[in-house]
Symmetry: C2
Subunit: 203 residues, 2 copies
C-alpha cells in the first residue's frame, strides 16, 4: 500500500470555481489533479493499492481510495470535476467531520494534515516527507508500505513543518520538481524495487 | 540537450476543437499537453535545454524549443491553447512545409516522425525508442545528448515501427505508464547521472 498526502494551500473550500480556470480561481487545483493522475493512473488501468489525501487549506481532506475508485480519467478537468462534486457534497453535509463518499472511492470530511497523517499511520504506513533537501531516495532503505507527504507550488507552512519534522526527509533528484512529477518518481522507485519483473531490480 | 518526440495518433490537424474536451474531440491532446509539461516544467522554471516534437497523425510536427519558449504554464488547458494557436497559424500558412513560429518557441510545419527523427539526428542527438519491452533504462549507458521517442495512448503503428526498429529500445520500469510519466522518469534518470549535485550520483 502506498499513500500520497498532498497539501493544497490555496485550493478553495467550496465548489464555487470554474473548471476553465484551475490555475487561477481554483487556487492551483490543476497541480492536485495531476497528482491524482500520477498516483493512480497506469497506461491502461488504475493502481488499486494506492491512497491519496488532498489536504485543502489544512481544513478539508479529500481522500481517494484506489480500491474503490470509479470515473477517474487522466485529464485535469475531469478530475477537478470530481473534486468539485466532493466539495458540493461537503457543503451540503451537516456533520462536517463525518466522512461522506461523494462518488465511488472519493471521501470528504473536515480535517487537516494532522488527520491525514493519523489516518495513514493508522494503516501501518511509514511516513516520509518529500523535501528537496532530503536524502536521495535511491540511497535509502524504503518501506513498501509507505505514505509520502508533498506540497503544491507553495512551501510547507510553519504548521506543516511542526508536524512533519519528526519524519525522515527524502529527495527524488537534484532539481526541484512539481509535486506530481515527484509522485511519478516515487512510484517508479518502488515499482523497480518491489515489482522486479522484466529485468528490473534494485542495484 | 534532451529531446522528446511524442506521437499523437488522433490529435486533430485543425484548430477546430474545444479546450473543454481535450480527451474527446481533441483526440487525447491532454496526453500531449502533459508531455510538454513533463518535458519543460521544473518547480520554478523551464528546462531550457529541451526540445519537444509533437507529431500529429504523422502529418504535422509542432516543435517546442525550450531556449525560446514563452507563455508556457504547467496546466493542460493553457498548453492546449498554445497548440491550438499553432494549428491556426498552420492553417493560414500557404507554404505548409516551411516552419513558422506561432508563439515564441513554438514552431509548426507539415512533417511526420521521419522529419522529427531527421531533425533530432541533425542536432547530433542519440535516438532511443521508449518501449515497455526495452532494456531497463537504469541498466543502460546513456548519451547525455539524446532524443526519446514515445507514443500517446495508442500503440506504435507499423509505419512508426519501420522507422524506429533500428534504434535501441529502453524501458522505464516494470509497469506500462503514461507517456508524460515516462518523460518524468527519463529526465530524472539523466538528472541523477549528469547533474550530480546534492548527493545524487549514479550507482
Amino acid at each position: 500500500m502506498r499513500a500520497f498526502i498532498v497539501l493544497g494551500h490555496r485550493v478553495p473550500l467550496t465548489p464555487d470555481f470554474s473548471l476553465n480556470d484551475l490555475p487561477g480561481s481554483a487556487g492551483r487545483l490543476d497541480i492536485l489533479c495531476r497528482c491524482v493522475t500520477a498516483a493512480f493512473c497506469l497506461s491502461h488501468g488504475i493502481r488499486r493499492d494506492v491512497l491519496v489525501y488532498l489536504v485543502l487549506q489544512d481544513q478539508i481532506v479529500v481522500r481517494l481510495e484506489g480500491s474503490r475508485l470509479k470515473h477517474l480519467n487522466p485529464d485535469e478537468r475531469s478530475t477537478a470535476a470530481l473534486i468539485q462534486k466532493a466539495l458540493r457534497a461537503f457543503a451540503e453535509n451537516t456533520y462536517k467531520d463525518r466522512e461522506i463518499e461523494s462518488t465511488p472511492g472519493i471521501f470528504i470530511a473536515s480535517g487537516g494534515l494532522s488527520e491525514a497523517l493519523q489516518s495513514a499511520q493508522g494503516l501501518g504506513l511509514t511516513v516520509y516527507w518529500l523535501h528537496e533537501h532530503g536524502t536521495p531516495i535511491r540511497h535509502e532503505k524504503l518501506d513498501e508500505n509507505a505514505a509520502f507527504v508533498l506540497s503544491d507550488h507553495l512551501e510547507f507552512s510553519p504548521q506543516d513543518v511542526a508536524l512533519l519534522k519528526i519524519f525522515p526527509q527524502l529527495s527524488v533528484g537534484p532539481l526541484s520538481l512539481h509535486a506530481d512529477h515527484c509522485i511519478v518518481i516515487v512510484h517508479n522507485e518502488l515499482d523497480v524495487r518491489f515489482a522486479p519483473a522484466s529485468g528490473f531490480s534494485l542495484r
